[in-house]
Symmetry: C2
Subunit: 198 residues, 2 copies
Amino acid sequence: MARIPASERRAALVQAALRVVSQRGIAHATTRAIVAEAGMSLASFHYAFDSRDELIDELITTVVASEQEAVLPSDLQGLGLRETLEAGLLRYFDHLRADPEHEQAMLELTQYALRSPERHPLAVAQYARYSELAGRSLEAAAELAGAVWTTPVAQVAGVLIAFTDGLTLTWLVTRDDDVARAIAHAAADALSRMAEPR
Amino acid sequence: MARIPASERRAALVQAALRVVSQRGIAHATTRAIVAEAGMSLASFHYAFDSRDELIDELITTVVASEQEAVLPSDLQGLGLRETLEAGLLRYFDHLRADPEHEQAMLELTQYALRSPERHPLAVAQYARYSELAGRSLEAAAELAGAVWTTPVAQVAGVLIAFTDGLTLTWLVTRDDDVARAIAHAAADALSRMAEPR
DNA sequence: GTCTATACACCGATAGAC
DNA sequence: GTCTATCGGTGTATAGAC
């Protein structure tokens, strides 16, 4: 095998680990499965990382940092806030349907992190990041729709995250698109009542 | 050790397994951890169950069957539907705060079941049960508040489950009571708009 | 730095004494 | 029926040749 800088090797292993967790779940994300996915030897793993725990920590950190704001499409100009929010939620739903395994992996990583005291802060940081992204989307939506939030945006963001998580969890189990759309509709309805026209 | 009927032994092991999953997570619920919790020997385990998988299946089945309808308190008479629903959601939140580990265990078991094709139907059955319970609660709430659902109750139940799941997941991570109450408020608001006065 | 080979702990499951 | 002892397999991690 060629010589590869440790930083590249770490990144490759993290990406391989994400694929394994996405496809097979955290329980199957053993060091052996991860190095096989990355096409490396077991020893290379322990050259790049001290332990499996260290890799999982870096996986969570990396994957959380790379979460992107669900960009609100610009063709929403002129719609009311409720419609704008619903369009955003439906966009998220499309994203979920396109890559359900990724969202399932995120949920599993959160649950996993919650179970160990040392990793608990990673789960909290994950949700702080979600809150930041949700807050920005909410500000943008209000701007687009000519509204202003009457509840602190951080609180509205918490509600949006809960609704999104709930939509994700139930759809991953039931795969019921109609119910998912009803959730998006109801969520947008409730959220829009936390603002008023500007 | 005394002679114990196999059925009792199975039940005791299932309860021990639930305690282990609740306290330490599914990943730590090994046969050895479970028999230690139940105060049995390892061999007793395999006398009662053919395999660990069989126990986990029975654990999920049992725990789902024992889920109770969140009984609506009868002192809600005379309130509007929105208030009745919000009171019910806050009751659920109290339950969550009283025993967060149980709800965390339920989430983990669902995720775990989703990951294996043989167990996938158990997760689906779990949500079907939730839907049944939620539907009954919604019927009762509408009855109490003198309203009638204008959306099919099965669909409203799906939305309620999603909102409840979302509240659970976000509160388990953030432990933010204020946001949880805001979620309950927003959820009740959205759900109440799926009905009209009778 | 990268590999193969292996150490050592723990897993699920079973054998066989009582 | 219940136990102790142990098997075979797999997990993380490391030793040592190259």
